[in-house]
Structure formats: C-alpha cells, structure tokens
Amino acid sequence: MEITLNHYLAVAAVLFAIGLMGVVMRRNLLIIYMSLEMMLQAANLTFVAFSRFNGYLDGQVFVFFVITVAAAEVAVGLALIVALYRLKRTTTTQDLTTLKF
C-alpha cells in the first residue's frame, strides 16, 4: 500500500484531536499543557508532510521556528504554573476559580 499525503494529514489530525481531548477533558494543568504541546506537534507534522509532497523546504523552516517558539513558550508556561502553585498550592483547574464570574 502506497503512503499518500492524506495518510500523514490524517495521522496529524488524529494527534490533534487527541490533544484537543486532553485539553478539554483533563483537569491537571500540566497534562493540559502537554496536550497543547501535542497539538503543536500535530501542526508540525502537517507542515513537514506538505513540505515534502509539495517540494518546498520552507515548511521545514517554519517547523524549525515553531519548535523554537514552543520551547520558549513551555519555559514561560511552566514558570506560570509554578508561580500559581506557590500561590494556591494546587494545579487543578477546578480550584482555580478566582476569575470566575
């Protein structure tokens, strides 16, 4: 069976859907953050697949930037989670209702 572009896109979509499920379903901030990362990775996979099948390398350069920005984002996000934990002693979304109307 020949692997087409659609196969890669479908796998990336499934990965994105799993990440979406994780973000909506889980209540642990760290797992939610991991699921967000997973969605970014799914986008990366589509970039690389399109880059390969279209013959342009620009997609790979984009993924390079996405990985860099994601790494910086993870550092800031985890610092926020640590600061939140210091303040509230919890990382459950249910306990973080300060902004709730």
Partner: protein
Amino acid sequence: MNALFFWLFSGGMIVCALAVILNRNAVASALCFTFSIVFMAGLFVMLSAFFLAAVQILVTAGAVMVLFLFIIMLLDLTAMEHVPRQKIWMGFTLLLALGFLLIVAKVLAATPLGFMTENSLPASYTTELEPTKAPVAKSAAQGVTQAQWDELDDTHRIGRLLFATDTSDGKTSYVAPFEITSLLILVATIGVIVLCKQDDRPRPSKREIITREAPPIEPEKETALKH
C-alpha cells in the same frame, strides 16, 4: 517497507498520545509524550526531514520534556491521581474530537492533491510541481546552482534557506525572523526569571533555619566541618 514503517511510527505515536491523556500518573504521561515525540521524529525521517527529526529529539524530547518532568516532580501531584473521572464530560470530549475528525476526513476526501504518493513526486526534491516557476532561479537565490542544490543534504538546504540574503527575485528571507526569535527567547528567559523570583519579604536563610531547628554544633566540630 515504507508503508510498514509508516504504520509502525504513526500507530506508536497515537497509542502513546492516548496514553498521555488517559494516564492518571503525570510522570507516566510525560514519558509517554516523550515516546510519542520520538515516534514523530521517525515520521520526520520518513518525510526526509532529517534535520528536523534530530532537532525534534534534541529540543522537544530532550529539553522540553526534562523541563516538564522537573516541574512534575517539583509540584506534589499525588493527590490528583484519586480525583474521580467525569464520564459524561469524557463522552462529550470524545464527541468533540470525533466531530473534528469527521470534518478533516471530509476535507481530505475532497482534496485531489492529497492522493499524491512519494513516487509521483518530481525527481528533484526542491523542483516545483508547476514548471512555470523556474526552479533554477529558486536555488540561485540561495547562492548555488541547481546541480549543487540537488547535491546538498537536508541540513545544508535548510541553512541556505534560513540565511539567504539575496531576495532580489522575490524569495522570502528568514534572516529577520531568525533574529527576532533570539529576541523572543531572551524575553522568555527574563520573563521566567521574573515569574519564578521569590517575593522581597525577608526570609530566614538556610543557616538560620538549621540553627533554629537543630541543636547548635560544637565549635570544634564546626571547624572540622569547614575543612
């Protein structure tokens, strides 16, 4: 052979991704995510993105996941493992994901370009699909001829594309975004330090805590410890 590896990598990746969101233990989740990243690096290799596969393992599976594991172990999350699951909410989430997948499946089925295989690719990796765009001009902007460009490996090509300064023929240059990224990382670093800095209230130093809680050390013992 290619198909076998594709199913191996993608299947492993999706199973690991499911394990990330279904595991109660956060450390196990992080490890599953690392495996998922490694499998995705395998998919990158299959798409001949060797440089990105290496970067993926080094940066995401290495640095980012180590950071995650540090934080998981720093915070006490054991109490959260016994929070009961909400079955109705899980079902709703599953419906949401299935709806998303349905939309994607519809789009993929309607796109003729998606049925392109590796064999139907143009001979040269960087040659355009449309012959109207001259591929030689594209590589000439990178400072090499088409023949040299075909000889280059993946990392060299990305480097040429990233640092191309000749944009006379409308080619995009990535030098400015690259430099801006360094600024972003600097801002992120400073931001992390500011966020994690302890407040300015005077806190008892480690020395004071030790002397307050433990019996004072005899002077001769203290000098022995110092040496």
